[in-house]
Amino acid sequence: MHEWALAEAVISTTLKIAEEKELKEVIELKIKIGELQQIDQEIFEFALSQLRSPMLKNAKFSLETVKAELKCRVCNHKWKFSTKNMDHDVSEFIHFVPEIAHTYLKCPKCGSPDFEILTGRGVWLDSIKGAK
């Protein structure tokens, strides 16, 4: 359940931003979740709700999954990440440290591990809506 650690990071960052912006209350949190990380959305949302501080007591959490797109640096081929036919251990390793994708994934066209993760890499705080 390392989703918890990431949820904690999101909440702690939100509180910091809310303080900087002198918000009285956070109304909505938009969070983007990269597909590569294969976050268990239910656990993640549960963790977020458990971590609600007074400032967030009525906050709505909007989660959006972002497809992971990879691009080969050698032959420029672009492809979509998929866990289909992937070894269970490997998908778990990528879940913990997404960069591990470079250890196990290869460009389907030329076989190079030298690719760029264009989109869908981790957890991002997209925007915060609040009241002053």
Binding site: L6, A9, V97, T103, W124, L125
Partner: protein, 241 residues
């Protein structure tokens, strides 16, 4: 869009007494051997110690300490498993013995991820085995680890010291604390390194002789701690921390 991970890192490290990055401008000067031995030596003196291998391209401490078959537990993050009394964390848990060809941004991202999710708990010391040079890992430690200290390793060679000089300069310019400089693999008496280090107003900790028996202790912690090398690490580094 904000990356939420950076903000949690120092909270994850908040219960650690002292964080020491074992670093050098060069590879092959003994960083991994010194980091591993230092971590063991501190732990044998009764301290709670963590060891983090941050050399993602060429992790080595698992070989030195013969660490196999361990995997972090998942619990509100990941908990480094214990090996030889150390809380031990390395990319090898996830990369196994496959190569990890990572570019700069990826290295930085992987470092941030590990720091954001690893639950070290309370430690007296966290020893970090750094990759060589003043690249991403070094810059990231300076950027986001409050209270990081650098232990710098050089050999007696001018070529090694030239790279170390730049590292010392960078750390001094950025006001990052330096525990001291160790001269490893000494084969004869020469004041060269000591003089150079003192000229840069950095603490010189002492020399470690080239130890012909060191290779025979690879993977054997008990043997390693009995080497002359380990005695020197104890004498000039761990006793001073």
């Amino acid at each position: 869009m904000v990356d939420p991970r950076l903000n949690i890192i120092n909270e994850r490290l908040s219960k650690i007494g002292k964080i020491i990055a074992v670093s050098s401008g060069k590879g092959g000067v003994g960083k991994s051997m010194i980091a591993s031995t230092l971590a063991l030596a501190l732990s044998r003196r009764g301290y709670k110690v963590g060891l983090l291998d941050l050399d993602f391209s060429c992790p080595s401490t698992h070989v030195i300490l013969s660490i196999e078959g361990l995997f972090p537990k998942e619990e509100k993050g990941i908990i480094p498993p214990e090996a030889h009394g150390l809380r031990y964390m390395s990319i090898v848990y996830y990369a196994r013995d496959e190569p990890s060809p990572l570019r700069g941004v990826d290295i930085s991202n992987a470092i941030i991820e590990l720091f954001a999710i690893t639950q070290w708990g309370s430690l007296d010391f966290l020893v970090i085995d750094m990759p060589p040079g003043i690249g991403d890992a070094t810059l990231d430690m300076i950027r986001f680890v409050n209270g990081i200290n650098f232990l710098i390793v050089t050999t007696p060679s001018k070529v090694a010291f030239e790279t170390v000089r730049k590292l010392i300069q960078l750390l001094k310019d950025l006001k990052v604390p330096i525990v001291g400089v160790v001269e490893n693999m000494k084969m004869r008496d020469s004041p060269f390194i000591r003089e150079q280090v003192e000229r840069l107003a950095a603490p010189f900790l002492g020399g470690i002789n080239f130890d012909y028996k060191l290779e025979d202790s690879m993977g054997d912690v008990k043997k390693l701690l009995e080497t002359e090398f380990a005695q020197s690490v104890e004498e000039i580094v761990s006793k001073k921390l």
